[in-house]
């Protein structure tokens, strides 16, 4: 099975987020970008599938600025066989439909039985890219997937928790799957593989090539205007009490009358 796994560098969980000086987007300067969250689970899932189906390969693909390269190397260190960086526009863009168009243009030129990704990116949380890519490639797509398994050379089974309950699906290949965060504890890369990944070749598809292929669609139509952080929390109002009953009574009163969040 030719497995493509889509990944996006996102800020480390502990990062201190702030806005750019013009206030329009998150400031990338001083942030450590990593392979994490949904994408880390997707890479793990891709590797598990590869291990269960001899002759399979995993191809990591990332769209965006130069920091994609380091995230792709992290995927190689974990076991991806090859990697492609699809360069974003020089002025930057975080339009998810544009990202999907650029990625789909590249995927059309590489083998892909299964295109795996997180159900959404860990930063912008749009969840638009997997479905948009599938529509562009003309193949089925499924988001919010868990427990993905191969059912022979040309099909998959998986579960999908929805508001109504847990659905069980059978799907043909090729298709696109957006994964829930897995609970399967993604593996860590071994040091020799990390060292080897630093020298691994990464194929680059430059922006002029992509923008020519996309023609009029190469312009973002979703544009960040303002990036705001909540006012820092100033610490809890401490509730003094002598008995548990007093604590309960005071807390419920505050939740009803002051915070107004009591059901």
């Amino acid at each position: 099975m030719e497995i493509v796994v889509l990944i996006k560098p996102i800020p480390e969980a502990e990062s201190r987020l702030r806005a750019t000086p013009d206030g329009r987007g998150p400031e990338p300067e001083g942030i450590k970008f990593v392979l994490a969250g949904y994408d880390e689970s997707a890479v793990e899932q891709a590797l598990l599938l590869k291990e269960s189906l001899p002759g399979s390969s995993v191809h990591a693909v990332s769209f965006g600025p130069a920091r994609c390269e380091e995230t792709l190397r992290a995927a190689i260190a974990l076991g991806a066989d090859r990697a492609t960086w699809v360069e974003g526009p020089p002025e930057g863009s975080d339009d998810p439909v544009l990202a999907a168009r650029a990625l789909a243009a590249t995927l059309q030129t590489v083998p892909h039985d299964l295109v795996l990704g997180g159900k959404q990116a860990g930063d912008d949380e749009e969840g638009i890219v997997p479905g948009a890519i599938a529509e562009l490639l003309g193949i089925p797509s499924f988001g919010y997937v868990t427990d993905l398994r191969s059912s022979g050379p040309s099909g998959l089974t998986f579960l999908r928790p929805t508001e109504a309950g847990v659905e069980q699906w059978e799907a043909p290949l090729p298709c696109v799957v957006g994964l829930q965060q897995a609970w399967n504890d993604p593996r860590s890369a071994k040091l020799p593989n990390i060292l080897k990944s630093r020298k691994a070749p990464i194929l680059k598809v430059d922006w002029p090539t992509t923008s020519t292929a996309l023609a009029l669609e190469a312009k973002p139509r979703s544009i960040g205007e303002k990036f705001e952080l909540p006012a820092p929390r100033t610490g809890a109002k401490m509730i003094e009490f002598k008995t548990p009953e007093e604590a309960a009574e005071k807390l419920v009163r505050l939740l009803r009358e002051e915070a107004k969040v009591f059901p």
Binding site: A13, D95, V97, A100, R101, Q120, G122, D123, E125, E126, G127, I128, G131, A132, A134, E135, P140, S141, F142, Y144, T157, T162, E163, A164, G165, V166, E167, Q168, W169, E170, P172, C175, Q181, W183, R221, S222, I223, G224, E225, K226, F227, E228, L229, P230, R233, A236, M238, I239, F241, T243, P244, A247, A248, L251, V252, L255, A259, V261, F262, P263
Partner: protein, 329 residues
């Protein structure tokens, strides 16, 4: 300008779902007095009655069984309805189904798109502004969506549900031949319905009660569940609890678990490690109960109680049940 706003309606048990009613409410506001609100449904005739009671002028209808309702099939039909209704904007509820269709529909219909939206305004002839939480609710962004067509999935619970309003919609049948043949091979084999009385799921809940190591033992965790039940809340847990096997990992809130942003988050016996905090800090109101007055959780909480969870929880559950008029347990 008289915009038509098209809502992709979902039904459950013959009734419109909450997120769909929220979308109809937003659509009414956006359409204003000179625009109109239409709907597209995959639910067939059984969905019509539900839609008629919300005053929609026109309904585009297909009858797609849930077993075959893939995002590709639904997007194809919804794009067709959007063309026929001459909609400028398609709104979807923030459900699994709605979120899953958004990206496909955006491409199929040639639209700009955004999901998880908590504020939306039409600001020009080909311009829509949205606000949406990002980074697990640690920040909020405003985006400008440009072009004649826009697809927006709303965030659940962010808007009020539309009130019912009688009407008799004109019904248009959608031609299923627009569904790509590649969608035909995918099939939903079964649905294990959510257990009634199992409470809301972590990501849908407006209140979450989470327990941590301070609960001291697995056999005390029922105190968390009883408080959650009295509040109609979902139950969460810190990593210490799931690592110890007191509860499965699906309960875990935090960096390696689920990110939640309910109206009220009650952290019980949770110290407040950054890995937990990133998963709950965007909750509107946070309550912390902990024996250690210097626990970092009190820095992110709005209300703090220093004390033993094992004595405070039963009293709190009793008080909640009393105030809500529920029978004492």
């Amino acid at each position: 300008m008289t915009p038509t706003v098209l809502v992709l309606a979902e039904t459950s048990g013959g009734l419109l779902t909450g997120p769909t009613k929220e979308a109809i409410g937003v659509a009414r506001t956006l359409a204003g007095s000179d625009g109109s609100v239409a709907a597209v449904t995959m639910g067939g005739p059984s969905a019509l009655e539900a839609l008629a009671s919300f005053g929609l002028k026109e309904v585009w209808m297909a009858d797609v069984p849930p077993e075959a309702a893939t995002s590709g099939a639904v997007a194809a039909l919804a794009a067709h309805a959007a063309d026929e209704s001459r909609a400028a904007l398609v709104l979807l509820g923030g459900t699994t189904f709605g979120r899953d269709v958004t990206g496909r529909l955006a491409v199929r219909w040639g639209a700009a798109a955004a999901t998880g939206v908590t504020e939306v305004a039409i600001t020009g002839p080909e311009e829509v502004h949205v606000r949406r939480p990002v980074y697990g609710g640690r920040a909020t962004e405003s985006r400008r969506l440009v072009g004649p067509r826009t697809v927006i999935a709303l965030r659940p619970h962010a808007f009020a549900e539309a009130a019912a309003s009688a009407g008799t919609p004109t019904v248009h049948a959608l031609d299923r031949s627009v569904i790509p043949v590649t969608e035909g091979a995918a099939r939903r084999r079964s649905l294990a319905p959510a257990e009634p009385g199992s409470g809301p799921s972590l990501s849908d809940a407006t209140i979450v009660v989470s327990g941590g190591r301070g609960m001291r033992a697995a056999e005390n965790f029922h105190l968390i569940e009883e408080l959650a039940q009295s509040l109609g809340a979902a139950v969460g847990a810190s990593r210490a609890v799931t690592d110890a096997g007191w509860r499965p990992t699906s309960f875990q809130v935090g960096q390696t678990g689920r990110a939640v942003s309910p109206q009220l988050y009650i952290a019980v016996g949770i110290s407040g490690a950054i890995q937990h905090v990133v998963g709950m800090v965007s909750s509107r109101t946070i309550v912390a109960i902990n024996t250690d007055p210097s626990a970092p959780i009190f820095k992110v909480a709005d209300y703090g109680l220093v004390g033993d969870a094992l004595t405070i929880l039963p009293a709190l559950t009793r008080e909640v049940r009393k105030v809500r008029g529920l029978p004492a347990n």
